[in-house]
Symmetry: D2
Subunit: 365 residues, 4 copies
């Protein structure tokens, strides 16, 4: 099978770079189209990325020679699609929210599916916000979306914010076993890379932390409700709960968001042993269908008293697994634990690729 | 008035050093006696501290020339007391808990009051665990303690753990205004200095955090109940609440413990404006009586979106004030905020000195 | 004596903030005029600085209420001078070099002396580049400068780059005692604050260092030659040596530039003991004349094997002294040592104020 | 070919762990014997390493089940050798120097070759200190060593200190092309892992650096002379030069030692272009003979202005290549550049394994 040619919007940014790195040896997809801001347009990617490449790993064969296109010019992508160089795009755009929303719609209208990392379109009710282990069925909103817009092949699918990735799969696994979740307290200790580059000033990240990340708490409290929601009459209807309270902090860690989580169950409460077993055994569609980007087990349990730690555990499952530790009773609610996930792999580009694998699996790509 | 001569047990450790620094210009107390482990005993303090002094600031006049005594040898302190060189001691001992407990009792039995930072004696029901702005009346358990032990002048008074200092005064201020506190969630991001020296390895504190501090969560959940408790029949009876759940983390910050706090009030709930006013206006005995170590206002409110931050705010009130910010409604409970205090000043040596000032004020020293 | 009213150009930047902080209680000078970019102009300083204030310390009485002026509009400063609100200005401008050069000249032409931190005018031969302990006599170029430009009261005086501050005074002290310096190797480990704010990205300053600072090595190699130079026929003539090689690195330290220095003397070589004595005893005009900003001793010797260290030693002499340690023979040249100075105090605003004190002392202000 | 069974002395320490990790998939060697301190002896390695494993990567199949032996008991290793479980040992012992020296000799006397990381035996004239790209012929001192001691199969071979690894290969490459090196200045910025675990306290590695590493400068100045030396009459005779001056600093970086180097050539001086070509093209025996641990090119040139950087470049060549950048003329000597190598891979366990590959290649193992 020849690989599906894909494009990257925002290819020179940090998330764009991570997409290119992670796709370098992907068995299904191949980067054949890169787009960025007008000032990079027209240059070979090699030159546009020079001095801006922030990753230790390099790019795949041929990517350096691709000519960077202007991401604002949808017609270039349409042309590339016609020439077999861009079947769909990953959007890692970093612009004003309204601009991104309009631009992603324009790509979809042009017949180009958009698998997006941006938050701009997350709250449109016919756009699925996907975590393939949690709500793969939400992909089936796509035909309604296409019908609503009279789009033919194009559509938009998004992923949720990086800050919630470490606990959404564990919460889902418990709910799947019939345990209602009433309330959740979460305090995050988030990595610098989540703010892009140059992002957080070095002056603020030595002997310091910042107890605030703009918009992050609101996203952390709202997005799970859509993800846990259900399809009804061509729209995704939010779940009624759980109710979530989030405190979000920036700490001097390069990669890896940590979350301290406390949960209140409904009247039916699992034992610690049952919880650990549910988590250790958890597998879902990406594992069962063998998606290339899927970790063998999406949840890794750590038994040590002082794990997970960002530097030690962020690369679990090639950055696609979440690590859980310190699983213990909560003194106020029922359960507490510490969760960790790699924010630019599972929380950004890796999660986007897994979404594309799901969409391909279900026939939308 | 000539100054009261005081001794420091554990004088060469980090908390001991901080005591010596903070007492360098104290108007009431003067360090005249220093004790440490047997291997330092017999040396001038200057030599014993050489290569172990971790603070930017120096020690007071004459301290360098004091001969270090063996902290295990209570008779040396008793002799010094007889000679007018050691009216009472600050205990910054760093040993096995049982050893500290016995040793502090031996000093008290020898007629030497012990104002302690150690956790060893915190749970003895006739020993007060003091925060002078919160429970100054608990000092009045001391006569009962002396009677129970048939001690004449000696006694033991302790301070609580550093991790709870940033939010105990704010919680107390709300309770004092008649607002019941039912439940509290707190996640701490604690500084390295809390673990002493050498303490946390550098390897663990670069590009990393540790989601665990041994014993810290238990202390954070239990100690407030004693501090909020009441004197009854010669013992301190724990308060019935609030119920507290604590997640404690170590982060790469030198000084300054940050706490993310969510509160549930009883049926009577103050408005945000009222809360801010209560906190901004709060003063208590240390302020009213003009204790030298007391900050003008024990609570500093920050209005900026991203404060308090450890490096910027830990020195508020010379390290004795707590800084509060991000005061906002909680999505699950009623109120949430971020609190910060300097863990080796308010949370350790400075808090110990303030306790001694209270005890002097009330006539016990 | 009433205080001399001074202005700050670039008042909202990091160096401008440091000027305002350090002048808060200055006995000679008082900030009465603040200027910044057009977008801040017209606002009270309190508002313009809101959310941009990066220092732990606050500003002096009355500064918050000053109206920020447009730094590009010299006429505002001239008017303020006429009204007795701006006798001279400290320039902490952060713009294109050519713009700064022209603007500083315009202030001088307008009759307003400029004491500058900027590098723009450092290489003009009739502008003195001052370290008051080293080349106070260079101030006497000012009448020639004024004559060359037909300026009446106005002039420009500058300070050198922050990276060389830690070793210029020690080198000068040795030269003053008759020891020729032939060659110098220096490797700097420079703090983040040297790059301003936002400056170096946090992503680059966790588990990392940057072995390059643009323009810094060139300045480190050239500026000492002017500072060690001599006045001749109304111009400063560079000294012929020493020849300097500099490697400049950025490291994850907030404040405090460290330098590892190796020296080759001429044929006459002092012993280690003599060197230490020269340094420990060194005092110069600022000390002798009692300049308010001058440290008692400009050089602090550390005898410990592992000092100076940035966090421990940067505040020596209120940030105005340089700390030297590890004084030992060099295996290739004659002498090596480690030097440290506070880059935003001695290396920036504090050094600028000391220059103004010198200029006042010599009658130019 | 079945793999050669090897032992690790000091298997639970940080360097021991790195050996075990790097050997997990080694094509020639297989860890079959692990030894550590008496308190670990008798336990399965899995249990002895529990809570002490500091690496992100795991150990090879079967290692967890090995019983840890007492490293002081040579007879255990001799027995294991007899049973085909320990053909030779890697020594990553962390004890008193004299103890290590005696113990390594005891293993060699027992017939067990010792490939050592320790510094204890580096200055014995019949023990080779090897960098396989630089002085592979020094291995031929081994028969003399064996004869001197009347050892049959056993011998000792060592590797040099981690601090010099980044520039020894580049210096050698230039010398090999006929360019004499007269003098070298080097300032190192060394990573935390070089001090083992717990090593440098976290308190010292936040907003700070330490300008001193005990013994490191002496090693940096002396070891190159032996490595560049020649075999003569059964002993290694030091090279007469180059003369080296080293300043060694500890900085807050987990892995990767950076060195700022200035070189003075003899009368014949290569151009920058020639130097770059020599380095870019450099290959030696490990590359030509295809040693498994050898990087394709031992030197990686970086053209960017601000590279090499520790986090970005330490993993070049799987941690076995050195990265060079900022190659430019020196203002005092002839050439300067920045060099970086991974201190626990090339600088420790990886370098030890490469030595063993060399010794196997030359028939000594």
């Amino acid at each position: 099978m020849s690989k599906i040619p894909v494009g990257i919007l925002g290819a020179t940014g940090m998330v764009g770079q991570m997409y290119i790195t992670l796709l370098a040896e992907h068995p299904w997809f191949e980067v054949r189209y890169v787009a960025a801001s007008p000032r990079s347009a027209g240059k070979p990617f090699r030159d546009a990325a020079a001095g801006r490449w922030r990753l230790r790993t390099g790019w795949g064969a041929g990517v350096g020679e691709l000519t960077v296109e202007d991401a604002n010019d949808v017609s270039r992508a349409v042309k590339a699609q016609g020439e077999g160089r861009c079947s769909f795009v990953f959007s890692a755009l970093d612009m004003e929210k309204e601009t991104i929303r309009a631009l992603e719609e324009a790509y979809a209208a042009g017949g180009i599916p958009v698998v997006s990392n941006a938050s701009a379109n997350r709250w449109v009710s016919d756009i699925p916000m996907l975590i393939p282990e949690v709500n793969p069925r939400h992909a089936d909103i796509i035909p309604f979306q296409q019908k609503n817009h009279r789009w033919d092949r194009g559509f938009i699918a998004v992923k949720p914010n990086c800050s919630i990735q470490s606990y959404m799969i564990p919460l889902h696994a418990l709910m799947q076993h019939g345990y209602e979740l009433r309330r959740v307290f979460v305090t995050t200790l988030q990595a610098i890379s989540g703010a892009g580059y140059p992002g957080v000033p070095g002056w603020d990240m030595v002997d310091n932390l910042i107890p605030f990340i703009s918009g992050e708490e609101e996203k952390s409290e709202r997005e799970p409700l859509k993800i846990f929601g259900s399809l009804k009459d061509g729209a995704i209807v939010n779940a009624p709960g759980p109710k979530i309270s989030a405190h979000c902090n920036r700490v001097p860690v390069t990669d890896g968001h940590t979350a301290c989580v406390s949960l209140e169950f409904g009247s039916k409460k699992p034992s610690l042993e049952e919880i650990k077993k549910i988590w250790a055994d958890f597998k879902a569609l990406p594992q069962e269908a063998g998606f290339p980007m899927a970790p063998d087990y999406p949840i890794v349990l750590r038994e040590e008293a002082d794990r997970p730690q960002p530097r030690q555990d962020r690369d679990a499952g090639q950055g696609m697994a979440v690590s859980l530790g310190r699983i213990r009773p909560c003194n106020v609610f029922d359960l507490r634990f510490t969760a960790l996930s790699h924010n630019t792999v599972r929380g950004a580009a890796g999660g986007g690729i897994l979404n594309a694998e799901l969409l391909k699996h279900r026939g939308y790509l």
